[in-house]
Each structure stands twice: as C-alpha cells, then as structure tokens.
C-alpha cells in the first residue's frame, strides 16, 4: 500500500519541483500590466481580434501595437477600462463597424441562381457573379450567416441591413462577402473619403460641395432619429447651424424631384436638425481618433479654417487656430449680417468645434506677430493658410475718397464693433453679389429710408443668391439694373449723389455672361448721402512679402497658387483652403475645402505622400440626370416662416424661422431616396435553374 502512495507522491513532487524550477529558470520578464489587462479582457479567447488569444491580445495592448478598442467582444466598456488603465486618457474611442457600400442602385443581376448553392460565394465562384455590374450585392445573405453577433439581417429589398448597436467590427462579414461591398469603416475612413464615379450617389450628393450624404440624413429624419441625422451631416460639415441658414443649396438644384415638382427643402431639414441639437443645449459627442502626435497650425478661422481644424482634430492631430481678429468665424461673423446668422448661434457652433480640443490664439496677424519659422520652431508639422478673401476691389472713379463712401466688407465688419456704423437716409450700394445684398439690407435696418442697388448688368446675371435678391425686393430695396457708376458727386467733402450711366447688354463673353456696353450720353444722378462699393473681393496676401518672404506662388487673380488635387503650395509644409485659393465662394465650398485639405495634410504628415483619389467624382455621373420621373405625385414644398416687414426694419432680428417637427416629417417624406439608377423595388424572384 505504501509503495504506490510513495511513487505517486514522488512523481508528483518531482513534477511540481521541476515545474517550479522551470518557471524560475525560464522566467520571462513580463510587464505586470499585461496580466492586469488580461483580467480586464472578457477572456472569451475567440480570436476575433486577430491575435491567438486574450493573452497575446493583452500583450499587444500593453506594447501599444493594438488600439484599446481591439477586443470585439468587450465592446466600448472594456475599451474605455483598458484605455483608462493604460493611461491613454479618457479618449473617445473610435468605433469601427461594418457598413455596406451597396445601397441598391447598380444592383447585381439575379439572373443565375444555381440550384444547390444558396450562398453568395458559391454563386460568385460558379458564374463570377453577375454579368451586368461589378459592385452590386448578390443578396443571398452569406454575410448574415457569417455574423456571429446577429447584427445583420436581410431586408425586404434583398439587401443586408446592419445593426450598428450589435456590430462589433470583427470583420467576419467582410471576409465572407465575395463582392467586397462590405467594409469595416471607422470615422477616420469616412472623413478621408471623397466621392468616386464608381459609387452609387444621388444627384444631390454629387452636387453638394461638402458631399454630405443627403438622402441618408433625410431618411434618419423620417425615422425620427435626429441625432443620427445630425451626425451624418457632421461627418462632412461641422457647421450645420450656419449652413442651414446661409447655404444657397446647390444640392436642391439637382434634386430629382424638381423635374416634375418643387425640390425637397433640403436646407430647412438641415437647419431643423441643427437647431434641434442647439435646443437640446448639448453638443452631440463626436468620436476622435487616437492622438498622432502631429501638430497643425491653421491661419484663419473662417468656415475653411474651422472645418480643417475640426476634421484634423478628429483624425487625431493637435490643432491650433491663429486668428487676426478678436473673434473666430471669419466672414461668417464679420461678413454675414445678424439677421441672417445670429452671432450667438455662430458662437455656440464654434464652441462645439473648439471643445474637441482645439487651441486658439486670437488677435495675432500672420507675418507680423508670428511667422512660418516661428511656427516650425514651435513644432508645427504643417501650416494651413485659410485666410479668406478680405481685400476689396475699389472703383477708380472721381469722388471715391469722399466722406460717406464705404467698401462693402468694411461696412459689414463695423457691425461687430461696439458702435454700429452710420448709414445716411438714402444709400446706394454698387454691386450685385451677396456682399451688396447684405450691405443694402443692413442699411435698411440701420434706419435708411431709401436703399438703391446699382448693378451694371440685369437681374439674371446677378451673382447673389436668388433667395437674397427676393428678400431684398420684399424689403422694398430699389434695383437700378444696367447702370454703371460714373462718378461720385460731393459737396464740402460729403457725398451728395452718384452719377450713373445706362448700359445695354452686348454679346456674351467667354463665361456666357453678357457684357454690358455703355449708352453714350445717358448720365443721370441718383441722390444719396452714402455710397457702399461691393464690387468684389480677393485674398489679402501681404504676409507673402516682407518680412517673411514666404515666396508662395500667387495666381494672376491674387489667390494662392496650389496643387488642385492636394491643396499643397510650392512650400511643401504649407497648404491652403477656401477663398484664398479659389477666390470668393460659398461657405459650404470653404467647408468642403477644409475637409479636403485635412485629408491632404493627414496623409502628408502620417505617410509622407498624398495618394490621389481614384476616379474622383467631379462632374455628374452619367445616367444620374433624368428627363422625366415617373410615378411621383406632386406635393408642395414647405416654407419657412419669415417675420413681417415692419419687424425687419430697424432691428436685426433673424428673418427666417426654423420649421417645426411636423413640417420636417412632411418634408422628409418628399425625398425620393435616389440612387444613380432607379432601383426596382419589386420583389426579387429566386428562380432555380436546373444545371442541365
């Protein structure tokens, strides 16, 4: 009896001692944090993260080669615990989830369903998939089978529907899909993505400079998911409150409903969700990528600068804005009057962007208070010039130096100072652009009795937003079309009138605008005591000369010369965006340029070179414009409430109101949810073909 017990104990002791010694001799110095991180992980050992098991994953987390959100089972809670333990700070962890690229349009043909193979991959292997299209979903639901988390189901239209709340971003569906139409996307990929010709893009998406996914956010509004709608907009446009008020809606011009009906009031809907956020009193959180340790300086805080700052911050870079003026916002603040864009709204929107962790230095002028060398010495990797177009063209006519003659931007800018500017009883504004409209309408609100806009072409040629022209007409502003200023008359140094010459329209020039020709001997005098010139702006690039000698190339229009595809200037670490590159343009164009330059700068700083965007969509995709639409019932477009004329004069109250929820619901249902090709919504017949 004793022997077996002794033997057993002996063998056990030897094994135990042996193991003990081995553990000591072969001890590997392991970071104690690995064990702790391992304890934080759920211990499923599923391998979904791509590592052999939780232990390897913990190791990778500790040495920094894996991001805190790598564990696909643990979700955000585990991720933030790990991030907290490893001292990654309270980072907004960027969720990565699966999303389909195929939204129905350009659908794969259902022609071949081989009996026996109810699987996308099998169909693909047998027939190389569909014959008509390279990108469409086959629709047999292999991704649904592949998903271990039940986040995918087949929708009634035969397309997979992804549930972002259940998706953990493990990528099984991506590996299962033979057509490669599912991708794991993070916020970062979304920010860096630009429209391509190969994508299914509705006309409005093709036309929007910022490339907002318009049908998607309207769909969210229809479903009552206002936060999701707003976040869809903010993937592309950090200033929805601003754009919802001042954007002239290039998208609505392309709206397919407008073929047989009024276009969808896209901007009212945008304004509705933006105001919904502001009414909630809290900025919706947006995810920010891991810190890259790169620093970017942005000169100028207009829409272009703010947009670039917002997107670069979200890409994980350290951003600092340098602004010459006492407040941020650029033309949004100093060029757009209060009655179109209340400044408290602008402040709230800008604060939301700055709260992402963007530093700001105000009251500093580039070239005078700080230079490129100084920025480089402070460790900035790149500099973005988004200085806008603030210099103004001036008429070289007699009397331009009289008292009572203003330039447009200079006049509008004064509204942000403590004392309002003075406008006389009767005001003449020269020019036909938005600045002229703003100056004219602002003068009315200062108490001017008579305001006249002098423009040398006709109403059709006016570059101002049509809505602005209509509003100016409503406010009884007089228009003197086909009149060119000849000289400003004055008495004892003060303006008394403007002499104008009548014009007639001649042959169209190469831009298609008809060139005005003077009618000799048609002089007449418009009596006035104030003349505001608003005949065009260009970038003020005086920092380019002394003392910095940046040697930036300039174009003959006094704009910064840069590579169109990258917005990189001839000084490699200097980029540009917005009006100072394009000349005066829309706010939404500057916002788009901000994201474009953010992409370039991101690649330049992280990879050293900026990859071109393959097949970048610039013109309308062939087939996306229709002559007629079938089966659409005409329904009238909603209109925003506007305050009455008496309320407009003498005050700077906002003219247009926001639509209410009921109207937003109604309007969102007017969206046709277009793709490139109209997608047949008929049920798909699954025909079994005998392989004979």
């Amino acid at each position: 009896m004793l022997t077996p017990i002794l033997v057993m104990s002996g063998v056990g002791t030897i094994a135990a001692v042996g193991l003990g010694i081995a553990a000591k001799v072969f001890h590997v110095d392991e970071d104690p944090r690995i064990q702790h991180v391992l304890d934080l992980l759920p211990g499923a050992n599923c391998g979904g993260c791509g590592y052999a098991g939780c232990a390897s994953c913990a190791e990778a987390l500790v040495d920094g080669s894996a991001p805190a959100n790598i564990c696909v089972v643990g979700g955000l809670e585990t991720a933030s615990e790990i991030a907290g333990y490893l001292g990654l700070g309270d980072v907004n962890i960027e969720p990565e989830i699966a999303a389909p690229d195929c939204s129905g349009g350009n659908r794969a043909s259902k022609k071949y369903i081989y009996s026996g193979f109810d699987d996308c991959r099998a169909a693909m292997q047998h027939y190389r998939g569909p014959v008509e299209c390279d990108h469409g979903c086959i629709g047999l639901g292999t991704c649904v089978q592949a998903c271990q988390f039940g986040a995918i189901k087949m929708g009634s239209e035969g397309l997979p529907i992804f549930n972002p709340e259940r998706c953990v971003g493990c990528g099984e569906c991506v590996r299962a899909c033979p057509k490669g139409i599912i991708s794991i996307i993070s916020e970062k990929t979304k920010i860096l993505h630009w429209n391509r010709y190969t994508e299914c893009l509705s006309p409005c998406r093709q036309k929007c400079p910022a490339q907002i996914n318009i049908p998607k956010y309207i769909r969210f509004i229809r479903e009552g998911k206002y936060a999701e709608a707003l976040l869809t907009i903010k993937e592309r446009n950090p200033l929805p409150l601003v754009c919802g008020r001042v954007c002239p809606e290039p998208c609505a011009l392309a709206c397919r409903r407008s073929i047989g009906d009024e276009p969808v009031a896209i901007n009212y809907l945008k304004r509705f969700v933006a105001d919904w956020e502001m009414a909630s009193g809290k900025h919706l959180p947006v995810p920010i990528s891991h810190s890259t340790g790169k620093k970017v300086a942005i000169v100028g805080s207009g829409p272009g600068g703010l947009s670039a700052a917002y997107f670069l911050r979200r890409l994980g870079h350290e951003v600092e804005i340098f602004e010459q003026k006492p407040e941020l916002g650029g033309m949004l603040r100093y060029g757009i009057p209060e009655y179109r864009l209340p400044k408290e709204i602008l402040d709230w929107e800008i604060q939301g962007i700055l709260d992402l962790g963007i530093k700001v230095t105000k009251n500093v002028e580039f070239g005078k208070d700080f230079t490129l060398e100084l920025l480089k010495a402070e460790g900035f990797d790149t500099v973005i010039l988004a200085v806008g177009a603030w210099a103004e063209h001036e008429l070289k006519i007699e009397g331009a130096d009289l008292e009572g003659v203003y330039s447009g931007i200079n006049f509008l800018e004064k509204f942000q100072e403590e004392t309002l500017p003075t406008a006389g009883k009767s005001v003449v504004v020269i020019g036909g652009g938005n600045t002229a409209m703003d100056a004219a309408r602002s003068s009315l609100r200062l108490g001017s009795k008579k305001v006249t806009i002098v423009y040398r072409r006709s109403r059709d040629e006016m570059p101002a937003n049509p809505a602005e022209i209509v509003a100016a007409e409503e406010e009884n502003i007089e228009f003197a079309f086909l009149n060119a200023p000849n000289r400003i008359l004055g008495e004892s140094g003060k303006v008394t009138g403007l002499e104008v010459l009548s014009m007639k329209l001649g042959e169209p020039d190469k831009d298609g605008r008809r060139r005005p020709v003077v009618i000799e001997g048609s002089e007449r005098v418009i009596e006035c005591d104030t003349v505001i010139q608003a005949i065009g702006q260009f970038p003020d690039l005086k920092f380019n000369n002394e003392p910095m000698n940046l040697a930036l190339k300039e174009t003959r229009w006094h704009t910064i010369d840069a590579e169109e595809d990258t917005l990189q200037t001839n000084v490699p670490e200097v980029f540009t965006a917005g009006d100072c590159f394009t000349g005066p343009g829309l706010a939404v164009e500057a916002i788009a340029a901000g994201r474009y330059v953010a992409r370039s700068v991101h690649y330049y700083m992280t990879e050293g070179e900026i990859p071109p965007i393959e097949g970048q969509q610039r013109d309308f995709i062939y087939g996306s414009l229709h002559d007629s639409i079938m089966g659409v019932n005409t329904t009238p477009k909603i209109h925003e409430s506007v305050i009455c004329l008496e309320d407009r004069l003498g005050t700077f109250k906002e003219v247009e109101g926001t639509i209410d929820e009921k109207d937003a619901q109604y309007e969102s249902k007017r969206c046709l949810d277009c793709g490139v090709f109209c997608y047949t919504k008929e049920p798909i017949e699954l025909k079994m073909e005998k392989a004979s």
Binding site: T3, P4, V7, A16, G18, L19, F26, A52
Partner: protein, 191 residues
C-alpha cells in the same frame, strides 16, 4: 521495414481518430477552419511525441520494476499535464513566435484524450523505444491528417445548401461518420 509498416498502420489503418475514436473533442471543436486545424495538428504531433517518450520511460524504468503497472493511467495524466505546462514555460522563454502561434491549443492538449490514448497504446502494444517513437509520431500525424481533411470538408459544407436543422455540428458528425467508414477501406492493408 517494420517501422514503415507501423507508421502506415498508425496513420491510415488504425487512425487514432477515425478508427479508434480518440480525440473527438478537438476534432469537432477546432475544425471549422483549415488554418486552425493545422495549428492543432502540429501541436498534437509535438506534445504526443514528447509525452509518449516520457510516459514510456516512466513506465519501464519506474512502474514496472516496482510492480505498479496498474497505476499507469494516474501517473500518465500527471506526467502529461506537467509536461504540457513545462513545454509552455519553455516555449514562452525560447520561442515566443511558436508560443504565440500555438496559443490556446497548447493548454487544450492537456486534456486531449488522443495524447493520453497514444501513451497508453504504446504500453498496450509493448513497443520498444524506437517503435514507440515512430508509433507516436505516426498516430499524431494520423490525427493531423484526419482533422485537416475534416476542416476542408467543413469549409465547403459551410457554403453549401444544408437543411437548417442539420447545420453546424449535426452535419459535422454525419460527415465524421462517413469519413470513418471510408477509412475502414484501409483495414486489411496491413495486419
């Protein structure tokens, strides 16, 4: 020549999985993907060979002289478990890539009946040292062969039109049965 015959017999005729039905747990558990089944197979070959050598030595130089043959199962479990632990510690120190590659499979083998089975069969067949080594390697190779074949079939099965009540483990077990039947075709090749 006998050793070659022994190897063929262990791999095909008396395949540890399909003829002797040992190690069915990992056979069903880790055979969904070809790559993981390869990892499992390699780990089994490595551990089974080492374990057989140790258990053989312990049996003939400790248990038999002391007349404690009946204790073999108990002692073998202890030895295999300690051995796997030792291998794990050793690999972690000297071959981190291999350790990471084997990952979870190494501890899994601790409780793998194929390894225990091979160790016990060595004793049952009264093999000499070299016979024992060849038999162990071959048996484990047979396990690897079977699990690789099975994983390949299961990968194809996954994309096939299987009635939903048969999906997953059900069809896998049917498949394993048919594979077992086909391996019976080898019987009689070698006595």
């Amino acid at each position: 020549m006998d050793l070659v015959l022994l190897a063929i017999s262990a791999i095909f005729v008396n395949n540890i999985l399909l003829a002797q039905y040992l190690g069915n747990c990992p056979f069903c558990g880790v055979s969904k993907k070809l790559s993981t089944s390869l990892g499992m197979g390699a780990a089994v070959i490595f551990v089974a060979t080492l374990a057989s050598i140790f258990t053989w030595l312990v049996y003939y130089y400790l248990l038999e002289p002391l007349g404690l043959k009946y204790m073999q199962t108990l002692v073998f479990i202890l030895i295999i478990a300690s051995l796997v632990q030792f291998v794990e510690i050793f690999l972690k120190k000297f071959s981190k890539p291999l350790y990471n590659a084997l990952g979870i499979y190494l501890p899994l083998i601790t409780t793998n009946c194929a390894v225990m089975g091979i160790a016990l069969l060595n004793i049952k067949h009264e093999f000499g040292f070299w016979e024992m080594v060849v038999f162990s390697i071959s048996s484990a190779a047979g396990f690897t062969l079977a699990i690789i074949l099975f994983a390949s079939i299961r990968e194809r099965l996954f994309i096939s039109h299987v009635p939903s009540f048969m999906k997953g483990t059900a069809i896998a077990l049917v498949t394993a049965g048919i594979m077992s039947l086909s391996f019976m075709g080898f019987s009689g090749m070698v006595n």
